[in-house]
């Protein structure tokens, strides 16, 4: 579904990504692991066209994304839950979900307000409240719901559990597991190895702008020591 090969990208004169490769199949959950500043967020930005790639190849559902503007890439079915959540503060919870909603792929059972509220009952309780009054965890749920409402083929979560209370984290991980069970493809950027080990099918480790290790969950457990060295936990 998503295949990134030899990706290079950077900002201005500096290069942040030298050689990033990753792959994710239909209905799979894959991870992108690494310490801060290793290029995880830049990789996500490059996939979405927010930081135009300088080299390498990004293919999504069999098509190259090279040169497409961000909104065109998003329209092909990539839904991003960004780092720091970034909900629209003055819009209500309901408006945040509805404003950018779409079913461009024509899914038979698209995400609706009711289904998102079913996934996150707390959003339903706060539907009329403006998003800025939500707690951090609730804003994260809203950001996930907002991305789901575009009915993406691929959901990308960038540091989705950063700065959240352990209880809320567990809730988010449980939600991702439920989404995976429904066949949703997900790419997760995070540092929580334990939770991801159970959830993901494939892992990729970034170090200084390069993919230094890729493998299955079983392989990751076998090489746990090496990987911990890269991730620094």
């Amino acid at each position: 579904m998503l295949e990134v090969r030899g990706l290079t990208a950077g900002y201005g004169a500096s290069t942040a990504l030298f050689d990033v490769s990753l792959a994710l199949g239909e209905g799979e959950v894959a991870t992108l692991l690494g310490r801060n500043g290793m290029g995880k967020t830049t990789t996500i930005r490059a996939i979405l066209g927010l930081t135009p790639p300088r080299g390498g190849e990004i293919r999504f559902r069999g098509e190259s994304l090279a040169g497409l503007p961000p909104e065109a890439i998003a329209r092909r079915g990539i839904g991003l839950v960004p780092e720091g959540r970034q909900v629209f503060p003055t819009l209500s919870v309901r408006e945040n979900l509805v404003a950018t909603a779409a079913n461009r792929a024509g899914h038979a059972q698209p995400w609706t307000l009711e289904r998102v509220y079913g996934l996150f009952p707390r959003l339903g309780e706060r539907a009329g409240q403006s998003a800025r009054t939500l707690s951090g965890g609730e804003q994260q749920m809203l950001a996930i719901g907002r991305a789901l409402m575009t009915n993406p083929h691929l959901l990308i979560l960038d540091e989705a559990t950063e700065g959240l209370a352990p209880v809320i984290r567990a809730e988010i991980w449980a939600t991702l597991a439920a989404l995976k069970a429904r066949g949703q493809s997900i790419l997760v950027v995070d540092k929580n190895l334990a939770a991801l080990g159970r959830l993901a099918d494939r892992h990729h480790v970034l170090e200084k702008g390069r993919t230094v290790w890729s493998g299955s969950g079983a392989a990751m457990i076998a090489e746990a020591e090496r990987i911990r060295g890269w991730i620094g936990l």
Partner: protein, 321 residues
């Protein structure tokens, strides 16, 4: 509930104003209220772009003036009995001239918006100002329509059943159009269109990453904004029976911005409050002293510093307190 009662009371007072003015022995205040309603219409329109859309236009005087000149030019050709460009007959029909003003404002906003919206931030402010200055100098150089001296309109717009020589009827017309425009803005800003517009103001990159290009939404909002401002200009031409390049001057753009910010950008009623307050203050202070701007300036500074979010926010706080 209380908010609705206050709004209803304000509406009734606005409707009854001509009778109240007549009874209080100051019929001149009907003209003042008419100016307030017209500026409120222009400010509310600018607010769609500035407040809701985050497009800080410093060129709305162009649309205001174009609306005024549409009425003036159509009147001039009507009085000369000579079609405009040999094609468009002149007119003093109110419906025709107001619609022509809105159409002209819309076309101008489409052209200016389509080019200016490719930029953002400070560049957008400067480009809208530059376009407005071009329109200003264009009309200064159009000697056929009076150039610097402006254009007198000896006949107010005509609509069967309405006599605009009666100040009260002109006032009710302006008030009615203001209310209609506010209802339209309310619908537009609450629809999904308005949500995307607000979302793009708050976080453009996020909207793009969710698959929506903000450009068409902004352009449509900018055009609507230009049309409303042109309508206000057309009404002002009818009220003063005179149009001049004063309407196109950049200080007019600034005045409209001050009204929006003073009242509360991004709220439906804020610009109306701002227009009423600014026009009222100008009138009141000008009656006290010739140097009224010396008092108005610091007052505006105080409002901006102490009432963040403008008069609208101050009112809300009062109600909560």
């Amino acid at each position: 509930m209380r908010e609705r009662l206050v709004a209803l009371a304000a509406l009734l007072a606005a409707l009854a104003l001509p009778w109240i003015a007549e009874a209080a022995g100051s019929p001149a205040s009907i003209g003042l209220a008419t100016r307030m309603a017209i500026y409120a219409l222009a400010a509310a329109s600018l607010n769609l772009a500035l407040g809701f859309g985050g497009m800080v236009s410093f060129g709305h005087a162009a649309f205001y003036g174009i609306g005024g000149y549409a009425v003036g030019i159509l009147y001039a050709h009507w009085s000369w009995q000579e079609p405009l460009l040999g094609l468009i007959p002149g007119s003093v029909s109110l419906a025709a001239t107001l619609l022509a003003a809105m159409a002209a404002g819309g076309v101008a906003a489409a052209a200016i918006g389509a080019l200016s919206l490719r930029t953002g931030g400070v560049s957008f402010i400067m480009i809208t100002l530059a376009f407005a200055q071009m329109v200003f100098f264009l009309f200064v150089s159009l000697k056929a329509y009076g150039g610097d001296d402006g254009l007198s309109i000896r006949r107010r717009g005509e609509l069967p059943g309405l006599d605009l020589r009666d100040p009260a009827q002109l006032y009710w017309l302006c008030l009615g159009l203001l209310l209609a425009w506010l209802l339209l803005l309310r619908r537009v800003t609450r629809a999904r269109f308005g949500q995307v517009l607000s979302a793009a103001r708050q976080n453009e990159r996020r909207v793009v990453a969710l698959g929506i290009s903000p450009y068409p939404y902004r352009l449509v909002a900018f055009i609507l904004s230009g049309m409303g401002t042109a309508l206000a200009g057309a009404l002002m031409a009818n009220a003063t029976r005179f149009v001049s390049t004063d309407m196109l001057h950049w200080t007019k753009s600034g005045e409209l911005m001050v009204m929006v910010i003073l009242g509360g950008a991004g709220t439906l009623m804020g610009p109306v409050l701002g227009a009423v307050a600014l026009v009222g203050l100008e009138y009141g202070l000008a009656g006290l002293t010739e140097h009224w701007q010396f008092i108005l300036g610091p007052l505006l500074v105080l409002v901006v510093i102490f009432a963040r979010g403008g008069l609208m926010a101050a009112l809300r706080r009062l109600r909560l307190a």
